[in-house]
């Protein structure tokens, strides 16, 4: 059995604001083994980024409240002191962010910014050595002429190249866990696939595991081993990648699947969308979080379903009261948009 790297137990992240308590993450559990790719999927505001940032301790602040555990190799990251976390950040757990245009500091060269991350965790390394390593990393992520490009500034890189540089920076200290928070959202479609392939290749090379956060199920389809769908700060469905795509149990997952443009299906009038907006994280709805937007909601949905295994497939969990038979009947129609008016 592969080494267990990360174990998140009952994680809750709440922020006190002037308008009230924002329940950004409200009970999330998952585990990540070495070499595994976990996809976390959900709309904006579903708590996926907050979960990721909390793992690295980047959501800490006077107004933030945490509950639960984030165990990395058995140590609870939520309880570590700031200095202890610093030695983990960028070293054992590294992160790539959404917008490579703003995630690099415009006033330092790309090389300097990678070197900075290397030196932060290798006191004894000489600057020249770190720079050689930076060039090597840039070569590894497919930047041509890396010895010359290390001295370029971010504005001299294209968007795709900047994201490659961000990946190089994240891998600089050979992390065990790589968290990619919407790494392709700000990029052209043609570049998106390249970046995903790059992450997939490098995770094997570096023997890391990956948490890939996205709102686009299409992005994780290729590389995720397991997918976790989040809605309003909770996990609403979790399972291995194949069952999530071929036997999705949660109407919210159906909606996400229906909103992927597909070339292999006859063209419908317009792209299907999930009606309505995610609930306010201050005033959560009663019962199932998705109930107000769910076309199949019924009386029982005023009571919140637990995240549990309801199908034969072990490890495939969901939060939906519908019977397995009803789901099979309703699913195809919902995914293909015929029921969207319901």
């Amino acid at each position: 059995m592969a080494e267990r790297l990360l174990e998140v137990r009952g994680l809750k992240v709440h922020f006190a604001t002037e308008d009230g308590l924002v329940r950004a993450v409200d009970g999330v559990d998952f585990e990540l083994d070495r070499g595994e790719v976990l996809g976390i999927v959900g709309e904006s505001g579903s708590g996926k980024s907050v979960t990721a940032l909390t793992i690295l301790g980047l959501t800490r602040g006077v107004n933030a409240r945490f509950e639960g555990e984030v165990l990395y190799k058995g140590r609870d990251l939520l309880k570590l002191r700031e200095e202890e976390l610093q030695s983990i950040r960028g070293n054992e757990i590294a992160m790539i962010f959404q917008d490579p245009m703003t995630s690099l500091n415009p006033v330092y060269t790309v090389g300097d910014q990678i070197v900075e991350g290397i030196l932060a965790h290798n006191d004894s390394m000489a600057k020249r050595q770190a720079k050689a390593r930076a060039a090597e990393l840039l070569r590894g992520v497919g930047i041509p002429n890396p010895e010359r490009r290390v001295d370029d500034y971010p504005h001299q890189f294209s968007g795709g190249m900047r994201q490659r540089a961000m990946i190089a920076m994240a891998l600089a200290n050979n992390p065990d866990v790589l968290i990619a928070d919407e790494p392709t959202t700000a990029l052209d479609v043609t570049i998106q696939a390249q970046i995903i392939e790059l992450i997939d290749r490098l995770k094997d090379e570096f023997n890391s595991s990956v948490i890939l956060i996205t709102h686009d199920l299409g992005v994780v389809a290729e590389i995720a081993d397991e997918i976790q769908v989040m809605y309003a700060g909770r996990v609403v469905e979790r399972g291995a990648t194949r069952p999530i795509f071929y036997d999705p149990q949660m109407p919210y997952t159906w909606g996400l699947l229906g909103s992927i443009p597909r070339l292999d299906k006859p063209k419908t009038e317009r792209l299907h969308s999930i009606k309505g907006a995610p609930p306010s994280l201050i005033n959560l709805p009663r019962g199932c979080m998705f109930r107000p937007r769910c076309p199949h909601a019924f009386d029982k949905c005023f009571e919140e379903p637990a995240l549990e295994n309801r199908v034969e497939e072990p490890g495939h969990l969901d939060r939906c009261w519908l019977s397995v038979e009803d789901k099979r009947d309703l699913r195809e129609a919902t995914i293909h948009g015929e029921l969207s008016a319901a």
Binding site: L58, E82, S87, R89, D99, N105, A120, H121, Y153
Partner: protein
């Protein structure tokens, strides 16, 4: 590089030309500005006045008068109407005091301004930030002439006797006395700028602290201090450079009129103030051009320095 310097030099000449024309024209239209009448005194005869007009060239066409004056500015032969002293000599006499005041005060206001801004931003919302904010607003609102007089009265020989009573002692004559005499003027002049810079820097820092690249820096595992110094402060200080260069240029060019006057430093600013009171065009013209020269020069320096600070605007 050479093209940049040439372009800025041409620009500077144009700016200085317009500044001089405007200064000259204001003087022509201002009531009671006729220098001949002023020079002739209260009980002068018409003949007397006509005589002065002739000898000083006030009877010539305006553009001729302007050309003559400009010529004298550059040859250093400008003579004051009211004191008949050589203006260039007077300005040279005032420059050491003005430069001493400007440089010392600039060092104080820049270092304290940055310190105050950083402390206030880092502790934003806490009592230290609130206290600093109130003090900064008090500092900005306090008129220099009032603060200067209070400082001179209470800290000077009149009350506590901690500091000498104004006046400038040349550095070459006695460095210790020079320093001792300038401490009060430096701080009095710096107070306003400290408050202002602190406020500007505080908001710059609070803006850049939310930048994505700051989050990246934290995710890399840098210490909070390294993140603040290398990523937040480095970028927040860029706008401060512009402010500083222009404020410093203004004070160098005799802009600290009130401070110089309150502490009787006899610098260029005080000289300018005296000349304005006497509607004495030649020194006003010279000091105005001097100030404009410093502003234009420092503006060019800022642009040059900006390219160093921000690689995005560097010509490739």
């Amino acid at each position: 590089m050479a093209a940049f310097i040439v372009r800025r030099a041409i620009g500077a000449v144009i700016v200085l030309f317009f500044v001089s024309v405007i200064t000259f024209l204001i003087f022509i239209v201002v009531p009671g500005g006729d220098p001949a009448e002023r020079m002739a005194g209260k009980n002068a005869t018409d003949e007397n006045i006509a005589n002065i007009r002739k000898t000083w060239g006030f009877d010539q066409p305006v553009y001729m008068q302007y050309a003559k004056m400009m010529q004298k500015v550059f040859t250093g032969d400008l003579i004051s109407y009211s004191t008949q002293q050589n203006v260039t000599q007077e300005i040279k006499r005032g420059l050491p005091a003005t430069f001493s005041l400007a440089i010392g005060a600039a060092i104080i206001w820049l270092s304290f301004g940055v310190l105050v801004g950083v402390i206030s931003a880092v502790t934003a919302g806490r009592w230290s930030d609130r206290t600093i904010t109130i003090l900064a607003l008090v500092g900005i609102s306090m008129p220099v002439f009032w603060l200067g007089i209070l400082a001179r009265y209470y800290l000077g020989p009149e009350k506590l006797g901690l500091f000498p009573d104004g006046q400038y002692v040349p550095l070459t004559q006695n460095p210790i006395e020079w320093f001792y005499h300038l401490i009060l003027p430096w701080f009095v002049l710096a107070v306003l700028f400290i408050g202002f810079y602190g406020r500007v820097l505080r908001s710059n820092i609070l803006d850049s602290i939310n930048e994505d690249y700051v989050r990246t820096a934290r995710a890399k595992g840098l210490s909070p201090r390294a993140v603040l110094r290398r990523h937040v402060l480095r970028n927040s200080l860029i706008p401060i450079v512009t402010l500083f260069a222009l404020d410093f240029a203004g004070v160098l060019g005799g802009g600290a009129i009130l401070t110089e006057t309150v502490f009787d430093l006899n610098g260029v600013g005080q000289f300018a103030a005296r000349s304005v009171r006497n509607l004495d065009l030649p020194p006003i013209m010279a000091v105005t051009l001097l100030g404009a020269f410093f502003i234009v020069t420092f503006n060019a320096l800022v642009d040059f320095f900006y390219a160093y600070l921000d690689p995005r605007i560097r010509p490739s």
